[in-house]
């Protein structure tokens, strides 16, 4: 069993619902965000085009953050989830620097000034401090709502199918752009989507094997859902020395050309 997510880039409407859902689910401090939504405009000729990528911890199969963590605070479970034991983290920030996807955040004190700085904590914040205490001086990241997954599994529910056992961001996505499930199960929804729509991972050349796949994306008018399957061979990786090369491999020669 290996939990993973498929993100349909064409369906994402940049509503930030996933970001809000995560904030509420985990009582995230003001300046801390686990899932991120990045978007940028590109001049694609006749009119501007917007590219959007929802990103979060990739829960890599071969996670560099787990390897570099000096205290063993960053751990990987048998189901592939990478999580941080806040009570063990010493705050060295090696994982923040080493994460190839830059999806870790060091929670410094100034990132948690309260939702209304200068005012007393709201009832929501007070409750959050008890239910989900965040420790300043440690590193944080998305944990795929592992509490929901564990509680759901304990109650016989199936993550990705039953809402109670599915990550909050997936439940909230009004466009249905996020799909969650077992990557090891060939019949799961995520496996089907990856197979049928040539799902691709970010930076496959790092060899980290992320658990998040993207489908149906567009970049400057080029369809971006062609999986870089050839990148899995060592000889090909040698030629993918830059993202430009890789982008051309994935999206066609029209991308990045002058």
């Amino acid at each position: 069993m290996r939990w993973g997510m498929v993100i349909n880039l064409a369906k994402c409407t940049r509503c930030h619902g996933c970001v809000a859902a995560c904030r509420i689910e985990h009582f995230l401090p003001l300046h801390l965000t686990w899932p991120r939504l990045i978007a940028w405009e590109t001049d694609a000729g006749k009119k501007l085009e917007v590219s959007t990528y929802p990103v979060r911890c990739n829960h890599c199969k071969d996670a560099p953050c787990v390897k570099v963590c000096p205290t063993g605070a960053t751990q990987q479970r048998e189901d592939g989830l990478v999580w941080i034991d806040q009570n063990k983290c010493a705050g060295c920030r090696y994982c923040v620097v080493a994460c190839p996807y830059q999806n870790r955040t060091f929670l410094s004190k100034d990132k948690d000034p309260g939702y209304f700085p200068g005012y007393s904590l709201t009832g929501f914040e007070k409750k959050g401090k008890k239910l989900y205490p965040h420790q300043a001086g440690t590193t944080e990241k998305c944990n795929f709502c592992m509490e929901r997954i564990d509680a759901g599994l304990a109650n016989g529910l199936k993550p990705g199918i039953d809402r109670e056992a599915t990550p909050a961001c997936v439940n909230t996505c009004q466009a249905g752009a996020l799909t969650f499930g077992d990557l090891d199960d060939p019949e799961s929804e995520v496996s089907k989507l990856i197979r049928e729509k040539d799902g691709f991972q970010l930076h496959p050349e790092y060899g980290t094997d992320p658990s998040i796949y993207y489908i149906d994306g567009k970049l400057c008018g080029c369809v971006s859902n062609k999986a870089p399957l050839e990148a899995t061979t060592g000889s090909h990786i040698q030629h993918l020395s830059t993202i430009e090369d890789r982008a051309k491999e994935i999206f066609g020669a029209g991308v990045g050309g002058k």
Binding site: I38, C69, Y94, R246
Partner: protein, 315 residues
């Protein structure tokens, strides 16, 4: 087709190549200083071992104990959990250079302490008779152990950085080699200062070794930059930042001029004048030490992450 405007400025670092800040900005300055003192302390200790300078070894040991280690600990988000970084409290040393480095440093400080005591006892003839041979034997053993761990202490930061795949400029085996060679060169500069204070150091010999190492240093740094410029667009960007960008002053003035050219010129002068004047030596030592600060600053400052998403203006 170039991006014209980027949305959600808070996450700009995700889209474009962005400089790492954790190890150089704000509290990250402590990592920079700790790395410099690692180089100065371990380098001075190693050189002192070769030149049999007890004072040099003591100062090198003190730099590690009183400057490097405290800075690393204070930098931590949870400084009181520093013990978690050390074996046997963690088994992460199997995969991570960080606990390995902490372990090397702790071993170094322990071995070097014993070596300093045994050498002091021998030098001051405080041990006589049958015990003397045992102390001499222990001195040799601990010199070897402390020497090996000093090399590892000087190098581990380079290995930590070279592991980071997302920072192509660091992601090369040259970084730890640059760290150890510059460390020894820094040690040679400092031992001259020690020698000027305590005597007993052959300054001319140190100058010769320094001359040689400075040339090696220059070649290594040039190789690092040249190799990076072939590696990837992001690494090229790092080189550009270093040579003509925001870090150019630290590079040209700090690394090249103060760290290499001035000490090299002084050592070449001493080649013809047999021994450089004291003032000139002090100037060269100060210049070289400032160069050591500039080198670590520059390398940390131009650590640039590859963008997370493939995009039109690709890196």
């Amino acid at each position: 087709m170039q991006p014209t405007r980027q949305w959600m400025v808070t996450h700009k670092w995700m889209v474009e190549p962005m400089q790492q800040t954790e190890w150089i900005e704000r509290r990250g300055v402590m990592v920079w200083l700790a790395e410099v003192f690692t180089s100065l302390g371990a380098g001075l200790y190693l050189v002192s071992l070769f030149l049999n300078s007890w004072w040099g070894a003591l100062i090198g040991w003190l730099i590690i104990c009183l400057l490097k280690l405290p800075l690393h600990i204070i930098y931590l988000g949870k400084p009181l959990r520093f013990w978690r970084l050390m074996p046997p409290f963690t088994n992460a040393w199997r995969t991570s250079w960080y606990p390995r480095g902490v372990f090397f440093t702790v071993l170094f400080t322990s071995f070097a302490f014993v070596q300093l005591v045994t050498t002091y006892l021998i030098n001051n003839e405080l041990v006589l008779g049958s015990a003397l041979s045992s102390v001499v034997a222990a001195d040799v053993v601990f010199k070897i152990l402390a020497g090996i761990t000093a090399v590892l202490t000087a190098m581990y930061g380079g290995f930590m950085m070279s592991y980071c795949k997302s920072v192509p400029f660091w992601n090369t085996g040259l970084v730890p080699i640059v760290f150890i060679i510059t460390g020894i060169a820094d040690g040679l500069a400092l031992i001259m200062a020690v020698g000027m204070g305590t005597g007993g150091i052959d300054i001319t010999a140190v100058e010769s070794a320094s001359r040689f190492l400075l040339v090696i240093n220059a070649i290594l740094i040039a190789s690092l930059l040249l190799g990076a410029s072939y590696q990837s667009s992001t690494a090229q960007l790092s080189v550009k930042e270093l040579v003509v960008g925001r870090v150019a002053v630290a590079f040209w003035l700090g690394i090249v001029t103060l760290g290499i050219i001035i000490p090299l010129l002084v050592s070449i002068v001493s080649l013809f004048a047999e021994e450089a004047s004291t003032n000139l030596l002090i100037f060269a030592i100060a210049s070289h030490t400032l160069g050591a600060f500039a080198l670590k600053y520059s390398i940390l400052k131009v650590g640039i992450h590859r963008p997370i998403v493939p995009k039109v203006s690709a890196y």
